[in-house]
């Protein structure tokens, strides 16, 4: 790696190099489509395509490893080449792989044969990676839409199920609606900055005397991203989409998509527009506060496990928003760490929900989980583990992640948000506990047919559980990696928080 390749972005070919993992994925997805078109025929199973996509993801990961050795020269390239990007790429790829693995079972059970499922998953990954790795508004927009379009379709992929279609429609309509706002914000931003390059905006705009137009643009931009990361009050689509979507896609929505949106959010707001911290802080503060409070409250009255996890996922977006507003190294590193932990636990949780729901996703009510702890001890124990981790109790990854976010918040002086975070966490304990109560403390529900635990699914669960526990007990290495990945990203952001953290809000 010492002989690092340097990219200067003097020609468009450089971008191809810089987008190597994305290119691998996209090409792979295309090949898969072609393969399916020519050889797939009427095969009753789309598993071959699934394994193919696993291979492609692995190749993309290799490409990403290669990317780690590439350095960029100059700082205005449309595509970033930094630790942040490779780190998030890895997480997205890993999440994608996990989702592919849990999809096998689901697709067979729900009789979903279209190979396009996996191709779209890969395309969504491409979109996410572009989204998280770009520095240009156009690329961000395109990545955004690429990801969204693929996911709109994925959400509605279970065509037999009206819930799936409904979820897809709601997601699509509101997503497009929010895109318009985002785009309007971009327009105004371009108008006031005169450039589409995020890196240059800080130079072009004077943060000290920011015009109303810029502030407005920032607000619209924040709203657009707020929609994607489901920040309250733009979260309204989330529970419906999560509940209706095929469960693997729900996991994908919860883990990777939100992560990608957040990565872009952070890249634009912290890295690109960190100088405008004072301008966007108020908005994000309210986002964070509301996004912690509202979903945690609503989740208390949920009876559908998927919906409950959906609200839980919104609440986690709130916690991540705290990391975002902290806008310091800790904040970004904690985001990366949290992303790993969160991906592991949310995918794990949904994987169990997926299996237990049975054919046609019938068993999704909390009451269906009664007594599960004793009739299906492993499933229940794992679900309990993931829930405990989501709740942020030690010794799980969720705790360390939350701790890191809190640390970032305290360092940046957002004691009020830190306190709000822990209080809402307290509320969240309540509904996570409800699931555990049902599983362990209530008499068993009536017996139902056994479920098959495919090897792929068991692998996913094992991986998620190990990550959840190991990162809870020995978080050093990922913490180090997370910190290294954001080290030196942007010195200026450190100045934002230089003042005494305890005298500010």
């Amino acid at each position: 790696m010492n002989t690092a390749m340097h990219l200067e972005f003097t020609s468009q070919l450089d971008y191809l190099w810089a987008l190597m993992p994305e290119a691998v994925l996209a090409t792979g997805a295309l090949i898969l489509l072609l393969y399916d078109g020519f050889f797939g025929g009427d095969s009753s199973d789309n598993r071959a395509v699934g394994w193919g996509s696993m291979v492609i993801i692995a190749l993309a990961a290799v490409a990403n490893v290669w990317l780690m050795g590439v350095e960029e020269v100059g700082d205005t390239g449309m595509v970033a080449l930094d630790g942040f990007r490779t780190f998030t790429n890895f997480i997205f790829l890993a999440a994608g792989a996990l989702i592919v693995l849990i999809s096998f079972d689901y697709n067979r059970r729900e009789d979903i044969k279209d190979a396009e499922y996996y191709a779209l998953l890969l395309f969504a990954l491409v979109g996410m990676m572009i989204l998280a790795g770009s520095r240009d508004l156009i690329l961000i927009f395109l990545g955004f839409e690429l990801m969204s379009l693929a996911v709109y379709v994925l959400v509605g992929f279970n065509r037999k199920d009206p819930r799936s279609s409904e979820a897809s429609l709601k997601y699509f309509l509101l997503g497009a609606f929010a895109s318009a706002f985002l785009l309007y914000g971009m327009a105004l931003l371009v108008g006031s900055a005169g450039t589409t390059n995020i890196g240059l905006m800080g130079v072009m705009l004077n943060a000290e005397s920011a015009e109303l137009l810029t502030v407005m643009a920032l607000a619209l931009l924040a709203i657009g991203f707020g929609f994607k990361v489901s920040a309250v009050p733009f979260h309204v689509w989330t529970p419906d989409a999560y509940e209706g979507a095929p469960t693997p896609v729900t996991a994908f929505l919860g883990a990777a998509i939100k992560g990608a949106a957040f990565a872009a959010f952070i890249r634009i707001f912290v890295l690109g527009l960190g100088d405008f911290h004072a301008q966007w802080e108020a908005i994000i503060w309210w986002f964070a506060a509301l996004t912690m409070i509202v979903p945690n409250l609503i989740a208390l009255v949920q009876n559908n496990i998927k919906r409950l996890l959906a609200y839980s996922s919104i609440a986690h977006a709130g916690y991540l928003l705290v990391a975002l507003i902290a806008a310091n190294t800790s904040g970004m590193a904690s985001f990366l760490f949290y992303l790993i932990a969160y991906t592991a636990m949310i995918v794990g949780a949904f994987a169990i929900v997926l299996v237990l729901a049975g054919r046609g996703d019938r068993y999704q009510q909390l009451s269906d989980y009664d007594g599960l702890g004793w009739s299906r001890p492993w499933a229940a124990a794992l679900l309990a583990l993931f829930l405990v981790s989501l709740a942020g109790l030690p010794p799980t990854a969720g705790f360390v992640g939350k701790f890191y976010i809190l640390r970032a918040a305290v360092e940046a002086g957002y004691l009020n948000l830190a306190i709000l975070l822990v209080l809402t966490t307290l509320v969240s304990y309540w509904y996570y506990l409800r699931v555990i109560v049902n599983m362990y403390m209530k008499p068993s529900a009536e017996a139902r047919e056994g479920v098959a635990w495919a090897a792929s699914l068991r692998t996913v669960l094992a991986v998620c559980a190990i990550i959840t526990v190991l990162m809870g007990i020995f978080p050093s290495w990922p913490l180090l990696k997370a910190r290294q990945s954001v080290a030196g990203l942007r010195q200026a952001t450190e100045q934002v928080v230089e003042t005494d953290p305890l005298t500010r809000r």
């Binding site: 156009i138 395109l142 709109y152 379709v153 279609s165 709601k170 318009a180 309007y184 971009m186 589409t196």
Partner: protein, 97 residues
């Protein structure tokens, strides 16, 4: 004229947004969104006078995206119509609370 165009863009954007709120027909709502996108395009065009051609390039991508969205969106609408025999969003309330 740029300012006027921007104001017009804002007005159209607002009308589009209001349309989304007012209508209950999924297709018409989607059309309203298209109008909003077009309003944004108008903004881009207006500001490209000062910013340069890159803002116009943006419009090209927006248009492409809008086309892609239209394809996917209408497909979704067709798909849901199969279930509900309706495109009235009031009927789509299996998922709530």
């Amino acid at each position: 004229m740029v300012t006027e165009a921007l104001i017009l863009s804002g007005l159209l954007f607002t009308i589009g947004a209001a349309g989304v709120l007012i209508r209950r027909n999924a297709i018409v709502m989607f059309m309203c969104i298209e109008l909003m996108l077009n309003a944004v395009n108008l903004s881009f065009i207006a500001i490209s006078r000062q910013v340069g051609v890159s803002a116009q390039l943006f419009v090209i991508f927006v248009m492409t995206v809008a086309a892609a969205e239209a394809a996917v969106g209408l497909a979704i609408i067709i798909s849901i119509f199969r279930h509900y025999s309706s495109v009235d969003v009031r009927n789509f309330r299996l998922l709530r609370w």
